[in-house]
C-alpha cells in the first residue's frame, strides 16, 4: 500500500467496489455452504437453492442461524469442510447448554490475523511497538486472536495472558510496552495496582494505546480509563462465532467501530419482528461471514444490540460503523415487568466522579418482593470522614438510578477495590431471585 493509513487495499474501497466484492463472496460462500450437512438441510427445508442467492438483495431469503443451531449441531455439524482441512478449534463455555465449537482452516486463521492487524494498524500500531495482551489465552479468542494479529503486523508481542497484575506492571516497565489489550474492568484494576505500587503511568511507563472490548462499557468509562492511564483507548468488537476479535474496530475518530464489510455482511433487525430497521436505529446485529472456509455462518443472530451510525467517517473508510454495544437482547433484566439493560445503570453510575468503575447488580427476593441492590465502589479520592456527605451521595445515586430505570434500587457504597474482579468477562449482574 502506498497510503500509510491503510493496511489492506479493501479499506480504501468505494461503496460500489465493496458491494461488488460482497456479492461475489456471498455467492461463493452460499455455494461452499452446500458442503455443510446443516446448511444443505436448511436450504432444502426452506425450498431454497444456492442459485436463488444471486445478489445482496437475495440475502433476506436465507433463514437465520442461531446460537441454538450451533449447540444442536455440536460439535462439528455446521462445518463446510472435512475436519482434516481444519487446523484450529475454539469453543465457548457451555454454562447454558452444549458449548459451541468454531472451526478454522489455515486460511481462516491467516485472514483472521489480517483483520486484527488491520484494526491495530488503523489506530497507529506499527512494527516498532510492543504489544502486551492481558487477555486469557486458551479457548477464549481474545488471547490467540490478538496474538496472531499483532504478530502479523510485526509488533513485538508479549503473551502475558490474564491475571498476575504485579507481573503485568513489571512487563510494562521492563519491555517498554506501548500497546495493551485489556477488558475495561481489568484496565481499571491495572490502574488501581499502579497507584498502590506508586507507579505513575505517564511518568514511569511507555503506554500509548489501549485496546478494550469484550465487555459493555460506557463512553464515560472509556474517558475515565484514558485519563487514568494517559492513553488513547479504542473499542474492539468481536465474537468467536465470526472468528474472534477483529470484526469491528474504532478508527482514530473514536466514534463507532468500522465493521469490515469485505469479511461480513451486516444487518440490523428488530429482535422481535426480525424485520430490518433503518440505519441509526437500535436492533439486533445479524452477520453473514463471507470470508471464511471452515464454518461460514449465514445470517447469524449475534444477540448484540447496536445500531449503524449514519453518515460518512472522516477517516475515509466506507466500511460502516457500529455504535458501541447497547447490551444483549438476552441479558436484559426484567424486574417487576420493567425492561432494564445493565448498561443503563452503568451510564448513571459513571456520571458520579465519587465512584470508581466497578459495580455489581444483585437481584433478589425479599419478603416475596423482587428488588435490586446496586453495590458501587467509592473512588479513592472520596473523603471517608464525612458521614453525611456519604449518605447524601447514596441518596443522589438512588434518585438518578430511579429516574433512569423507573425502579428504586437499594444502593450500597463499598470500599474501593472490594468488588471481586473476574479475569474473563466481568460479572455485573447476579440473579438470586426465587423462581416461581
Amino acid at each position: 500500500m502506498t497510503d500509510e493509513r491503510f493496511f489492506n487495499a479493501e479499506e480504501a474501497y468505494s461503496r460500489s467496489e465493496l458491494e461488488a466484492l460482497q456479492q461475489e463472496r456471498l455467492r461463493a460462500t452460499v455455494k461452499h455452504c452446500m458442503n455443510s450437512p446443516f446448511y444443505r438441510e436448511r436450504f432444502r427445508s426452506a425450498g431454497l437453492s444456492q442459485d436463488d442467492i444471486r445478489s445482496l438483495d437475495d440475502l433476506h431469503k436465507i433463514p437465520f442461524t442461531t446460537k441454538q443451531d450451533l449447540r444442536d449441531t455440536y460439535p462439528f455439524g455446521i462445518a463446510s469442510v472435512p475436519l482434516g482441512d481444519c487446523t484450529r478449534l475454539h469453543s465457548s463455555s457451555g454454562t447454558t447448554g452444549n458449548p459451541t465449537v468454531i472451526l478454522h482452516t489455515a486460511r481462516d486463521l491467516d485472514q483472521w490475523a489480517n483483520a486484527v492487524a488491520r484494526c491495530l494498524w488503523m489506530v497507529g500500531c506499527r512494527p516498532d511497538d510492543v504489544f502486551q495482551n492481558t487477555s486469557g489465552y486458551g479457548m477464549f479468542t481474545g488471547g490467540l486472536g490478538f496474538q496472531y494479529g499483532a504478530e502479523k503486523l510485526g509488533m513485538l508481542t508479549v503473551p502475558a495472558a490474564a491475571g498476575n497484575t504485579l507481573r503485568q506492571l513489571k512487563f510494562f516497565k521492563d519491555f517498554r510496552t506501548t500497546v495493551v489489550h485489556a477488558i475495561p474492568s481489568y484496565a481499571a484494576r491495572l490502574y488501581e495496582v499502579m497507584c498502590q505500587q506508586g507507579i505513575d503511568p505517564r511518568r514511569d511507563l511507555s503506554l500509548r494505546t489501549l485496546v478494550i472490548g469484550a465487555e459493555p462499557h460506557s463512553e464515560d468509562t472509556r474517558r475515565r480509563i484514558e485519563d487514568m492511564l494517559g492513553v488513547k483507548a479504542y473499542n474492539s468488537f468481536g465474537m468467536s462465532e465470526m472468528m474472534g476479535p477483529g470484526v469491528a474496530f474504532e478508527c482514530p475518530g473514536q466514534n463507532g467501530m468500522h465493521i469490515w464489510e469485505d469479511y461480513f455482511i451486516v444487518e440490523i433487525v428488530d429482535p422481535v419482528t426480525l424485520e430490518p430497521v433503518p440505519d441509526g436505529e437500535v436492533g439486533e446485529l445479524v452477520l453473514t461471514t463471507i470470508n471464511r472456509e471452515a464454518m461460514p455462518l449465514l445470517r447469524y443472530r449475534t444477540r448484540d444490540l447496536t445500531r449503524i451510525l449514519p453518515g460518512e467517517c472522516p477517516c475515509g473508510r466506507v466500511h460502516r460503523r457500529l455504535d458501541r454495544m447497547k447490551g444483549r437482547s438476552d441479558d436484559m433484566i426484567i424486574l417487576k415487568g420493567v425492561n432494564i439493560f445493565p448498561i443503563q445503570i452503568e451510564q448513571v453510575l459513571m456520571q458520579f466522579s465519587e465512584l470508581a468503575t466497578d459495580y455489581l447488580i444483585t437481584l433478589q427476593t425479599l419478603d416475596d418482593n423482587d428488588g435490586m441492590t446496586v453495590e458501587v465502589e467509592i473512588s479513592e479520592k472520596v473523603l471517608t470522614d464525612d458521614y453525611s456527605a456519604l449518605q447524601k451521595l447514596e441518596k443522589e445515586i438512588t434518585r438518578c438510578l430511579r429516574d433512569e430505570i423507573l425502579i428504586t434500587p437499594k444502593v450500597r457504597l463499598v470500599p474501593f477495590g472490594s468488588i471481586p474482579k473476574s479475569e474473563g468477562k466481568a460479572v455485573r449482574v447476579k440473579d438470586l431471585r426465587k423462581q416461581y
Binding site: Q196, V382, T384, D385, L413, F416
Partner: protein
C-alpha cells in the same frame, strides 16, 4: 492546633475491622483512641494513633479506603463539667460540632471533634484560652 485522625470506611461485614487493626499492629503503630460510627451497610472508624502519616500510608497501600483528616484536640482538667464549659463556648459562637469523642490520657481528659467551621473554631479556642494538644504531646504521653 489540630491533630491528624484516620477515617476508615468499613463495609459492615466480619473481618474488615480486624484487617485494619492488624495492619497497624504489624507496623508497630499504637492506637490512642478510636470510635466507630455505623449504619446498616457501612461504618466509619476514626482513629487517633502514633505516627498518623505513616499509618495512613500503610493502610492506603494495602487498599484500605482511608482519609487523613485534621481534627481539634483539647486538653481538659479532670474535673466534672469541663466538657460542658468547652462546648458551650462553641455553641455560643454558633459553631456546630459534626462529631465528638473523648478519652483520658496521662490523667487528663482529651476532647476530639470536628466542626462545621474550622476557622471560627480556631479563633474561639485562642480567644478563650482553651488548651489545644499538640500532636507530638499525644505520642509522648502514651
Amino acid at each position: 492546633m489540630t491533630i491528624h485522625q484516620l477515617s476508615v470506611f468499613l463495609e459492615n461485614k466480619s473481618g474488615t475491622l480486624v484487617k485494619v487493626l492488624k495492619l497497624l499492629k504489624q507496623e508497630n503503630i499504637q492506637l490512642i483512641a478510636s470510635t466507630i460510627a455505623d449504619t446498616a451497610e457501612y461504618g466509619i472508624c476514626r482513629i487517633i494513633c502514633s505516627e498518623p502519616a505513616r499509618a495512613f500510608n500503610v493502610l492506603k497501600s494495602a487498599g484500605v479506603a482511608v482519609t487523613l483528616t485534621e481534627v481539634f484536640a483539647l486538653q481538659l482538667d479532670d474535673v466534672p463539667g469541663r466538657a460542658a464549659d468547652a462546648i458551650e463556648i462553641f455553641s455560643n459562637e454558633g459553631i456546630s460540632i459534626a462529631y465528638l469523642y473523648s478519652f483520658l490520657l496521662g490523667g487528663k481528659g482529651v476532647l476530639i471533634f470536628r466542626t462545621d467551621n474550622a476557622d471560627k473554631a480556631r479563633d474561639a479556642i485562642v480567644r478563650n484560652n482553651l488548651r489545644a494538644v499538640p500532636e507530638k504531646d499525644l505520642s509522648e504521653l502514651i
